[in-house]
C-alpha cells in the first residue's frame, strides 16, 4: 500500500509495481458501492487521498485541473466565490474523490439535468498500466482523434489511473427552488414523476424516498420530512427567476393532481441544504433500521418504474425482508435497498435470493445492471445477463489495448472468460447458474467491511514506526 502525493509519484508507484510484476489498484475515499477498489490478486494499493490539490482554476474558460484525491464537495467549495460549482453530486459528495468519480462515471441527483461525470471531464492525464503517462481528451471543444477520454471515464481503474483531471465548472444558477411533496402512496408519487417529465419540465433533480427511508432520514437530520408519508419527492428546479417560479407552480400542480398532501417549498438556503442533507445521508441512515444493507443500483425505463417498484416490494414481502427505496426517480435509476442484520441466522440466503429476483425483474423490464455505482467486483459476474459473448469480447479487447497484461485493477468489471476462445468451464457455469449472483459477489457483500478493516489495520509504515509511508522511488 502506498500514499503518493502527486501525479508523478502515482506514476512512479505504478512503475514500481510493474517492475516487480505486481498488479495495482487505485483507492480514493473508499466510498464505492460496487467493490471497485477492493484489492484482489495481491495488488499494490495506490491510495490517492494525499493527492488533494486543486491545481489550477480558470474561471473564464470554466475549467479546473485537479488531482484525483480532491473531494467532490471540496472542489465546489473552493470555487464557490467565483459563482461556479462542479455539477455531478453523488450522495457521498462530501467524502468521495474526483478520481473515484471518474473511475465509476459517477452520477448524482443533479445529473438529471446536468449529466453524469463523463460530461464534466474534459481531459484526463493518466498513467497507463505500462507506466507511461499520457493525456486523453483536451480542453478544446472537439479534440481530434478517437475520444479515448470517454473510454477512460467509467473504466473503473482497468485502463490505468487518472493523475490529473480537467473538469468543467458550471455556473451557479441564478435562482434555485427545492420542493418537498409528500404522498399517501408510492403509486401517486410515481405518477407525479411521470407527469412532471411528460409535461416537458426538466427539473434539475427529481428524487423519491419511500416511507421507511424517510423516517430514518428524518431521525437523523430533523429537516421536517413527514414521518407519516408513504413516499416523498424532492424536486429541485433552477434557472432564471421567472422560469423557476413557473416550474414551481407547474410541479406543485402536477403533484396535487396526483394526490400530494402537501407541497413545501424550501424558504431559504439553510432549509434547502437540510433537505438535501437528508437525502444524501439516506444510505448511512439505514443503520437506524438494521446494521447491514445490500444496495442495488439498476436503471429501468421510466415507463416501467411503477410496475417494477410494485414487484420489488412484493419480492421483499415474499422473503420477509425489510425493503426500502431511495432513488433518482427522474432518470429511472432505482436503488432498492434491503436492510438486514447479518447476525440473524439464515437471513443472508434470503437477501441473496431477493436481490437476484430484483435484478432479474429490472433486466426483464428492459433495464440495466448499474446506473452509477459501477460494476466493480459486485456485478462483474452478472455482466453476461446483459451482454452477449460478442459484446464482452469487444470490451475485453478494448481493455487489452490499454492493459495487455491485466495488471490494472485485475478481476474487476469483466467476468473471466470474456475474451473469445477463452470460454472456459467457469464461464459456462456462470451462465448456467440459475441465480446470477455469483459466489464472488456474495463474498464481496459479506466481506467489504472486513476489507476496509484490513486496509485500516494494515501496516503501511516505515521501519521507524512513524506514520510516514514508503514513498515510491521513481
Amino acid at each position: 500500500m502506498c500514499f503518493p502525493d502527486s501525479a508523478e509519484t502515482i506514476a512512479a508507484a505504478v512503475r514500481v509495481a510493474r517492475r516487480h510484476g505486481r498488479p495495482f489498484v487505485a483507492r480514493g475515499s473508499g466510498t464505492g458501492l460496487a467493490g471497485g477498489a477492493v484489492p484482489v490478486d495481491d495488488p499494490v494499493v495506490i491510495v490517492t487521498t494525499r493527492c488533494n490539490r486543486v491545481l489550477d482554476v480558470d474561471p473564464v474558460q470554466r475549467v479546473a485541473w485537479v488531482e484525483p484525491g480532491v473531494l467532490n464537495l471540496d472542489l465546489s467549495r473552493t470555487i464557490r466565490h467565483l459563482g461556479l460549482h462542479y455539477a455531478p453530486d453523488p450522495s457521498s459528495q462530501a467524502a468521495c474523490s474526483i478520481g473515484g468519480n471518474v473511475a465509476t462515471n459517477a452520477g448524482g441527483p443533479h445529473c438529471l439535468a446536468y449529466g453524469v461525470t463523463a460530461m464534466h471531464v474534459l481531459a484526463v492525464e493518466v498513467v497507463l498500466p505500462d507506466g507511461s503517462v499520457t493525456t486523453l481528451g483536451g480542453l478544446e471543444p472537439d479534440a481530434p482523434g478517437y475520444d479515448l477520454r470517454g473510454c477512460f471515464v467509467g473504466s473503473e481503474g482497468t485502463m490505468g489511473i487518472a493523475t490529473r483531471i480537467a473538469v468543467r465548472l458550471t455556473p451557479n444558477p441564478p435562482e434555485v427552488a427545492t420542493l418537498l411533496l409528500d404522498f399517501t402512496s408510492v403509486d401517486d408519487a410515481a405518477a407525479t414523476v411521470s407527469g412532471t417529465i411528460a409535461s416537458g419540465a426538466l427539473p434539475a433533480a427529481l428524487e423519491m424516498m419511500d416511507a421507511k427511508i424517510t423516517r430514518a432520514v428524518e431521525d437523523f437530520v430533523g429537516a421536517g420530512y413527514p414521518r407519516d408519508a408513504e413516499a416523498v419527492l424532492l424536486v429541485e428546479v433552477d434557472g432564471l427567476a421567472d422560469g423557476v417560479a413557473e416550474q414551481v407552480a407547474a410541479v406543485s400542480e402536477i403533484g396535487k393532481a396526483n394526490g400530494a398532501r402537501h407541497v413545501r417549498v424550501a424558504a431559504d438556503d439553510a432549509e434547502r441544504a437540510l433537505l438535501w442533507k437528508g437525502r444524501k445521508s439516506a444510505f448511512g441512515a439505514i443503520a437506524r433500521i438494521a446494521p447491514d444493507y445490500y444496495l442495488h443500483d439498476a436503471v429501468v425505463p421510466r415507463s416501467k418504474l411503477l410496475d417494477v417498484l410494485r414487484r420489488v416490494y412484493a419480492i421483499a414481502d415474499e422473503h420477509a425482508l425489510t425493503m426500502m427505496n431511495v432513488f433518482h426517480a427522474g432518470d429511472g435509476n432505482l436503488h432498492p435497498l434491503i436492510a438486514y442484520d447479518r447476525r440473524q441466522p439464515g437471513v443472508w440466503e434470503h437477501v441473496y435470493e431477493a436481490g437476484t429476483e430484483i435484478l432479474r425483474t429490472c433486466i426483464d423490464a428492459g433495464g440495466v445492471l448499474s446506473g452509477e455505482h459501477g460494476v466493480g467486483l459486485e456485478k462483474r459476474d452478472l455482466m453476461p445477463l446483459l451482454f452477449s459473448p460478442d459484446d464482452l469480447d469487444a470490451q475485453a479487447r478494448l481493455r487489452d489495448a490499454f492493459d495487455p497484461d491485466g495488471a490494472a485493477n485485475p478481476e474487476k468489471v469483466l467476468p473471466r472468460g470474456s475474451r473469445c476462445g477463452e470460454l472456459t468451464a467457469e464461464r459456462a457455469s456462470i451462465g448456467d447458474k440459475s441465480c446470477p449472483l455469483s459466489t464472488h459477489a456474495l463474498w464481496w457483500c459479506r466481506s467489504v467491511g472486513e476489507h476496509i478493516g484490513k486496509l485500516a489495520v494494515g501496516r503501511p509504515r516505515s521501519a521507524t514506526g512513524s506514520w510516514k509511508c514508503a514513498r515510491p522511488r521513481a
Binding site: 439505514i286 443503520a287 467491511g449 486496509l455 485500516a456 514506526g465
Partner: protein, 399 residues
Amino acid sequence: MSTRSEGPLGLDDDALAACVACGLCLPHCPTYRVTGLEFASPRGRIAAMREVEAGSMPIDDSFERAMTECVQCRACEAACPSSVPFGHMMEDTRAALTEQEHGTSASRPRRALEWVGYRLVLPHHIVLLGATWLLLAAQKLHLVPKRLALPALSPRSLARRLDVERGGQPHAWLFTGCVMDAWLRDTHRSTARVMRATGATIARPGAGGDCCGALHVHAGRREEARTLARRIIASMPGDAPVVVNSAGCGAAMKEYGVLLDTPDARAFSARVRDFSEWVVERGVPATSRSATPIVVQDPCHLRHVQRSHLAVRTALGESFALVELDDDGLCCGAGGAYAATQPELATAIRDRKVDAIRNAVGQPDPVVASANPGCMLHLRAAGLDVRHPADLLAEVLDG
C-alpha cells in the same frame, strides 16, 4: 437492549455493528484530513476496534496509536447518519487500554507523567495553582519552550481573586473549573460581569467543585472521572442552572448522566448550560455595537457534542459583525490535552484551521471568538487574537 461484546475492549456490540462504512464521516475527521490515512479516520478506527474485539488483531502499539491519535473531537459522530456513538466507543476503548495497562517499556515514563497530571495536579486545585505560579516563574526565566503552547500567564490576574462568592443559593452557578481558573481567570471575570448584567445573582461551586474530569474521561480514566463528577454534583446543590464557559467541561458535565448513570446525575446534567446558551435563554443584556468583525470558531465539544454552537451567534450577533468559517466546523487540534500529547498532528490540524480563519476574513490578524479554553490557547499559540465570547460581550456591555 445493547450488549457488551466478549472481546478485550468490552465495547457495545450494537454500536460496533452500526457503522456501515459509508465514509461520510471522513471529511470531518481532522486526523484523516491531515494524514489521508484510513487508520487515522473514524471508519478505520472502528474497523480496528472490530478486529480487536473479534480477536483477529492484537492490542499492540499500532492499535494503541490509532486510538490515541484520535482528537476525540466527535465531529464524526455528528456527521454520521447511522448515529454511531463514536465518542463513547472511543472512551470505552481508552478505558480498556488504561485498565489493561498494556505498558510497553517506552510508555512507562509517560504513564508516570500522566499520574502526576491526572491524579495530583488536576483534581487538587491548590496544587494546580502552585504549579501555575511555578510555570509563571519558569516563563519569566524563558525556560518554557514555545511549542508547548502554554498561555502567557499574568501574575496580576493570578494574584487577584475572583469576586464571586462560593456556595449559597444563587440564580445561577458559575462553574470555574481547574485549568480555566488558573490560566484564564480574566475570562471568568468577564463571565461574571455579563451574568450579573442580566440581573442574576451568581455563586461559584462550594468545596470540591473544581475539576470536572473531562480530561480523565478522554484519557480513559473513568473511575477517577466518576469520583470527580460526584464531587462536582455535590458542590452545586439545588435547581439553579450550572453555567460553564468552557465547552469541553460543559460537554463532560452534560454527560454525567451517562457516566454515573444515576437519576441525580441525570438531573444535574439537565441543569448544565454553556455560557452563551444560558445568556440567550436569559436574554442578552444591552450592549453597544462594535465595529470589529469577529470570526466564529466553534469548539468541537460545543458544536458536535453539546450542539449548542448557534447560541454563540445569537449572543454576539447584536453587537458584532460575525464571520463564518467555511470548513464545516473542522477541529482545530486542541482536543483537551491533545495539543500536548500529539504536538505534531495538533499543529498540522491547526494549520488548516488558521488558513480557514485567515481566508474567511481576508486579513492577517482577525479577532476570533472561541468558547473553549483549549482552543483559545492552542490558536493563540499560532499567533491569532482569540477571545472568549464572554470577554467580547463584557467589553461592549452598556454601562
